[in-house]
Symmetry: C2
Subunit: 217 residues, 2 copies
Amino acid sequence: MSRLRVHSLAISLDGFATGEGLSTEAPFGHAGGRLMEWFFPTRTFVEASGHEAEAQGPGTRGIDDAFAAASWNGIGAEIMGRGKFGPQTGPWQDDSWRGWWGEEPPFHSPVVVLTHHPRPDFAAGETTFLFRDASPRDALALATELADGLDVRLGGGATTIRSFLDEDLVDHLHLVVVPIVLGRGVRIWDGQEGLEGRFSVEATASPSGVVHYLFTR
Amino acid sequence: MSRLRVHSLAISLDGFATGEGLSTEAPFGHAGGRLMEWFFPTRTFVEASGHEAEAQGPGTRGIDDAFAAASWNGIGAEIMGRGKFGPQTGPWQDDSWRGWWGEEPPFHSPVVVLTHHPRPDFAAGETTFLFRDASPRDALALATELADGLDVRLGGGATTIRSFLDEDLVDHLHLVVVPIVLGRGVRIWDGQEGLEGRFSVEATASPSGVVHYLFTR
Ligand SMILES: NC(=O)c1ccc[n+]([C@@H]2O[C@H](COP(=O)([O-])OP(=O)(O)OC[C@H]3O[C@@H](n4cnc5c(N)ncnc54)[C@H](OP(=O)(O)O)[C@@H]3O)[C@@H](O)[C@H]2O)c1
Ligand SMILES: NC(=O)c1ccc[n+]([C@@H]2O[C@H](COP(=O)([O-])OP(=O)(O)OC[C@H]3O[C@@H](n4cnc5c(N)ncnc54)[C@H](OP(=O)(O)O)[C@@H]3O)[C@@H](O)[C@H]2O)c1
C-alpha cells in the first residue's frame, strides 16, 4: 500500500509554517530563513545542495539529519500547493517562473502542483511539474499512480496539508517545531482539533533546539 | 533580586492553556483533564494531594516530577488571574466561591488575585487571597513585597501571563506542551511575536510524551 507522507514541515512554536509577505525574495515572508536553520547544517542538505562551505564541513549526522534523510526514502511522487511552488497568486501571468529549484530540482520524480489556475506541465531535469485543479482525493489518486508502487510525499505548504488532513488522507506527519514565535502567517493547526486521536504521536528534542514530532498510524 | 517565575503552564500543541466552556464542573472546559495528565503521576502531585491510590504508588521521580517540584522552590507569593481562581465572570455575586483548593490550599503564602471587580480578602489555612485591580507592574510590586525576599510565582492563566510578558516582567517561563490539538480556548502565544529574542530557550522531551520548554534570562 502506497502511503502519503509529510516530512520536515517546519513550524514555529505558535504553529506557523510560513510568515507574512511572501515574495520571490522572501519565500517565507517575515520568517526569513529561521524556520529552516535546523536543516542547513545537515549532511542531507549539504549533499543535495553542494553548500559545504556554508555548513563548514560535510554536514551533521545527528537527529536532525536522520529526520531530514527520511524524507527521500521510497518516494515516487510529490504533491504540493502552488504556494510552495512560488509566491504568485491568481491566474499565472506567464510561464517564466519555474519554481525555486533551478534546472535540476531535487525531486527527480513527478510533482503535482495543486492550483485552480491552468498552466501547462513542464519538465526540469528529472522532475516533471504537473499543474492540476483536483480534490485532495483525486490528486492523491493521480500521484499514487505516478509513484508506481512507492509512497507519495505531501510537500506543503500548511494550507494544502490541512486540506489533506481534513480528508484523513495523511499516513505520516513529521513536524519540526522551531523555538521562535512568528505571530503571523499560515498555521498548520487551524481546524485540526482532536488530530492526535487518529495518530500515535512521538516527540524527540534535538540538541539543535528544535523538537521533532512524528504522527504515525 | 526577586524574580517572577511561571511554572508548569500546560498548553496544547496549538498553544491553548485552557479550553472553551469553563464551569465549576469543568475548570479547563472542553479540554477536560488532558492538559494535566502528565502532572498527576508525579511524586510532587501525589505528596501534595495525597492521591497515592490514583497514582498507583508514591509517584514518579523522572523529568516531569523534576519540573513539577521546581515550582515550589523559593516562592514567597503568587499572582493569578481571577480565571484561575474560578470560572465566574463579571461582578462577584457573593463570596461563597473560595477557589478550587479547599480549606488548605497548597500555596501557603499570599496570593494576589487580579480582578476588576472588588471583593474582600480572605484567608484559608496558611494562604491569604487578596483581590486587587492593579496593573501588572503594581501587582508585581505588591507581591514582591509580600514575598519578603523570595521569588514570586505567576500562576496563570494565559491571559494574565500574556499581560506580564507584554510588560517584559517575566524572568522564567516554563511551558509543558501536551501532544493534543485543542482547537479553541485561550492561547498563550497571541501577541508574543519575537518572544524568543528576550530569553534563551531550551526544550526537553519527556518519556510521558510532553515537551518541557524553559524560557530563561
Ligand atoms: N515550513 C515548511 O517546512 C514549508 C514547507 C513547504 C512550503 N512552505 C512555505 O509555505 C508557503 C506556502 O504555503 P501555503 O499554505 O501558503 O500555500 P500552499 O499550501 O503551498 O498552496 C495553497 C494554494 O494551492 C492551491 N490549492 C491547494 N489545494 C488545491 C486544490 N485541491 N485544488 C486546487 N488548488 C489548490 C490554491 O491556490 P490557487 O487557488 O491560487 O490556485 C491554494 O491557495 C510558502 O511560503 C512556502 O515557502 C514551508
Ligand atoms: N494550563 C495550565 O497549566 C493552567 C494554569 C492556570 C490556569 N489554567 C486555566 O486557565 C483558565 C484561566 O485562564 P484565563 O486566561 O482564561 O484567565 P486568567 O488569566 O486566569 O484571568 C483573566 C482575568 O483576570 C482579571 N485580570 C487579569 N489581569 C488583570 C489586571 N491587571 N487588573 C485587573 N484584572 C485583571 C480579568 O478579569 P475581570 O476583568 O473579570 O476581573 C481577566 O479577564 C482556567 O480555565 C484555568 O483552569 C490553566
